[in-house]
Symmetry: C2
Subunit: 134 residues, 2 copies
């Protein structure tokens, strides 16, 4: 766990939700979609295969948990999961709740339009609601 | 494994590479990017959390293996992994080899431009090359 530091771009774009066994759980400050980001607390991991076998198993368990809870809390039609990292090299996994008619449907959310920050207080309310479901 | 049938859209867009323990491995017929698709051979799975714990562990192992081999064989800068399913409900995971300057860089590949089918014979050659690395 030592030497892990959250990439400044991820820190700037998100609110802290929780530290799970492997991942830091973040909420994207974009009210267009309920959108979590999981960041394995491992320095220098850029690809999923950079993680060891035990970390990989924890990662998929945490992806499944975050996806199921986010779908439940947001009452969404579909979860999109993505590990891209073309701009931010630190390994991070997007968990995005999607619905027909949302700002990017049926395409992916990345790179589409501009983020719409939550109103003051709204992100803290949503974080509390998400944390309650964990 | 019974009752699994590959979604016709995935069948139409890809070439068969291999059947691994959990997933059918496919190669997208789009010469713009070396692009594998993993389809867990489980009927009715739409989200990663629809898989049981053992299947999830096999899935992440197969994602890591496919990503590492595809990065190696394509000598690419980055692997993008995505499970979207907004259009094709059958659970499937994209493993896409990316490079600065490619047709969608640094954005995601999904929904960008039109697929560029491989020339006759080229997809079979690439499938053989990939299979050799497995």
């Amino acid at each position: 766990m030592t030497d892990f530091e959250l990439h400044p771009r991820l820190a700037a774009d998100t609110a802290f939700v929780a530290d799970w066994t492997l991942c830091r759980v973040l909420l994207m400050n974009d009210a267009r979609y309920p959108w979590l980001i999981l960041v394995p607390r491992r320095a220098a991991a850029a690809e999923i295969f950079d993680l060891g076998p035990e970390d990989r198993e924890m990662l998929i368990a945490e992806i499944a948990l975050a996806s199921e809870r986010l779908k439940h809390v947001s009452r969404s039609a579909k979860i999109n999961v993505g590990a891209l990292g073309n701009l931010v090299p630190q390994l991070h996994i997007h968990i995005v709740a999607r619905n027909p008619g949302d700002a990017a449907w049926p395409g992916p959310v990345w790179g589409v339009g501009a983020p719409q920050p939550y109103a003051a207080g709204a992100i803290e309310t949503l974080v509390r609601e998400i944390v309650k479901t964990f």
